[in-house]
């Protein structure tokens, strides 16, 4: 199983999910319940997964742009207003948001789409 990418979101397959992370509750986007993987600050667009009991999205440790995803059973799709749907096979993934370099802080910052 290899990594998947949709815009500024990278899904990297992992063997296990740390026990310290917490599930992300279902949210509303464009009037529909879903799991919001990431939301653009400027555009309001979002990378979303269906609100399905077989899908669990975990938030990463506080202050990081990394989360986790577990898809059980059937394949699902990651959706975004500006990208084609990205099929995701069952499995466990690390969810990584794209970051940018800041010469002042000399560390990565989350990218704004």
């Amino acid at each position: 199983m290899r990594s998947l990418r949709q815009g500024d979101v990278l899904l990297l397959p992992v063997d296990s999910i740390p026990s310290s992370v917490m599930p992300v509750p279902t949210a509303q986007h464009r009037g529909r319940p879903c799991l919001v993987v990431a939301r653009g600050e400027r555009t309001g667009h979002a990378h979303t997964l269906p609100a399905d009991p077989a899908i669990t999205l975990f938030s990463g440790e506080e202050g990081t742009s990394i989360g986790f995803l577990e898809v059980r059973g059937d394949e699902t799709c990651l959706r975004h207003e500006e990208h084609r749907p990205l099929p995701i096979a069952a499995g466990r993934y690390r969810v990584i948001m794209q970051r940018q370099h800041d010469p002042a802080l000399a560390r990565g910052l989350a990218v704004a789409d």
Binding site: R2, L4, R5, I96, Q98, H101, G108
Partner: protein, 468 residues
């Protein structure tokens, strides 16, 4: 109070019936109503439609150019009919002096009436002087005779003054025709005369003749965001913008009623704090004015044309395009922010303004940014300009390109900034792929390593099997 309203394209209610009623009760023809969407648009509409600027400009330019004709005729007569003469004849000198004195005196008198800003007057004088100098120089070079130079100066100055007048008139005519076409109504091409004095005198008389028991006017509806005490300040801001656009003092924008208006203290908006039980007891002209006043933040009354700024319109007066053309490049948002980040250097601002094209102005800014020694400041400057725009203006070539994108370095080699240009895997609705510029640390060697860094993984790990 019955009120016929229409809804503008912005969703605001327009008191068209009260405008018509106000004009009718003042025994004026019903006007064409021009609705401005913002304070800036209001100022521009008044500048275009009101007959306030051009007569003054035309007369002033004419007065300045007045000595041209007798000077030209005198020198022509001197050189043509009496080639051997060495001085102007008494009659010619007298004529020239008389016309010159008269033109200066008339100009001064008219300027005092108009309160023309020094800038506009300076522009007229500078135009006249440059035309005169060019004419004199051309005549001197061609003919070599001082009389020809005098005649050339007179003709040159006159022609430039004429061109200034034609330019001013052409701008107004174009604006009026465009507004008329947009509204599908007849707009006087020569401009419309302000009639505030007519309306205000009626309102003032109506207010003064009210019996003590007459009801107070209703307060402006509570949902209106514009408080009464703010309205004269709004009017002043609009007038200032109009003055900037036209170069002439405006005095026609005042609230119809209340503080800052000429409708009399007795009928102020302070008194309007109390609700009226039966407004039908009021004179018809006041009723119409109250209805109009309740729905607009500013109104300019012209003969056959009314310009309204509905309540709730944006009031921020931002720099608008200058009369007859675009405003200075350094005042445009695309350049203002970058120049501010560069410290608002006066020299750089003037250079940007004088640049032949936006491309050259961008190149000028990009060169300044690239030379910046401090990478933190350089990054802020690039961000202010927009990375893609900056890279194109600086004409930088990528240091590495592969299937993931292109890597660029900006600035001195010892402390560069690095950017990777990537494209969306999914084309947009127009078939093109959106371009993104990502800041990466300058130690990355390849575009792939740069993209991998943005996801916090190594170049070897970054190999998505599918992208969308």
């Amino acid at each position: 109070m019955p009120e016929t309203v229409a809804r503008s394209h912005s969703g605001l209610f327009l008191p068209l019936a009260s405008v018509e009623a106000l004009y009718r009760h003042c025994h004026l023809r019903p006007p064409v109503v021009v609705t401005a969407g913002s304070a800036v648009q209001f100022a521009r509409s008044v500048a275009a439609l009101a007959r306030v600027g051009e007569p003054g400009l035309v007369l002033t330019a004419t007065l300045i150019a007045l000595p041209c004709l007798p000077i030209a005729l005198a020198t022509f007569d001197l050189t043509g009919s009496n080639p051997d003469a060495t001085a102007l004849r008494g009659l010619d000198i007298g004529l020239v002096v008389y016309v010159a004195v008269m033109s200066v005196a008339l100009t001064a008198w008219y300027l005092a009436r108009l309160a023309m800003p020094r800038r506009s007057f300076s522009a007229l004088i500078a135009g006249y002087a440059s035309g005169a100098a060019s004419g004199a120089l051309a005549a001197a070079v061609l003919g070599g005779d001082w009389r020809n130079a005098v005649m050339g100066a007179a003709i040159g100055g006159g022609l430039v003054s004429l061109a200034q007048v034609v330019t001013a008139l052409t701008w107004s005519l174009r604006q009026r025709r465009a507004i008329g076409q947009r509204l599908g109504a007849r707009i006087a091409l020569l401009g419309s005369r302000p009639i505030h004095d007519v309306v205000r005198s009626r309102l003032d008389l109506a207010a003064r003749n009210l019996p003590e028991s007459a009801p107070a006017p209703p307060s402006r509806p509570a949902h209106r965001s514009q408080p009464p005490e703010e309205r004269p300040r709004v009017a002043a801001r609009i007038e200032a913008e109009g003055r900037r656009l036209t170069g002439y003092r405006w005095s026609g924008i005042r609230p119809l009623l209340g503080s800052g208006s000429n409708a009399g203290d007795r009928y102020s908006l302070d008194r309007a704090a109390r609700q009226v039980a039966d407004p039908d007891d009021l004179p018809a002209v006041l009723r119409a004015a109250i209805a109009l006043d309740a729905s607009v933040d500013a109104v300019t009354l012209l003969e056959d044309v009314t310009i309204l700024l509905p309540s709730g319109s944006p009031l921020e007066v931002v720099a608008a395009p200058r009369r007859g053309g675009t405003r200075l490049r350094s005042e445009r948002a695309a350049y203002r922010d970058v120049l501010a980040a560069l410290g608002n250097s006066l020299l750089l601002r003037r250079l940007v303004d004088l640049a032949w094209s936006d491309r050259i102005a961008d190149r000028l800014l990009a060169r300044h940014i690239v030379r910046s020694e401090d990478s933190v400041l350089r990054q802020a400057l690039v961000q202010a300009m927009g990375t893609g725009r900056f890279i194109a203006a600086a004409r930088l070539a990528p240091v590495h390109t592969d299937e993931t994108g292109a890597l660029y370095l900006v600035g001195p080699a010892r402390d560069p900034l690095a950017y990777v240009r990537v494209e969306d895997a999914t084309p947009g609705a127009d078939g093109t792929r959106a371009e993104h510029w990502l800041r990466v640390p300058p130690h990355v060697a390849t575009a792939r390593e740069a993209v991998a860094w943005t996801f916090g993984v190594s170049e070897q790990t970054y190999s998505p099997s599918m992208e969308s």
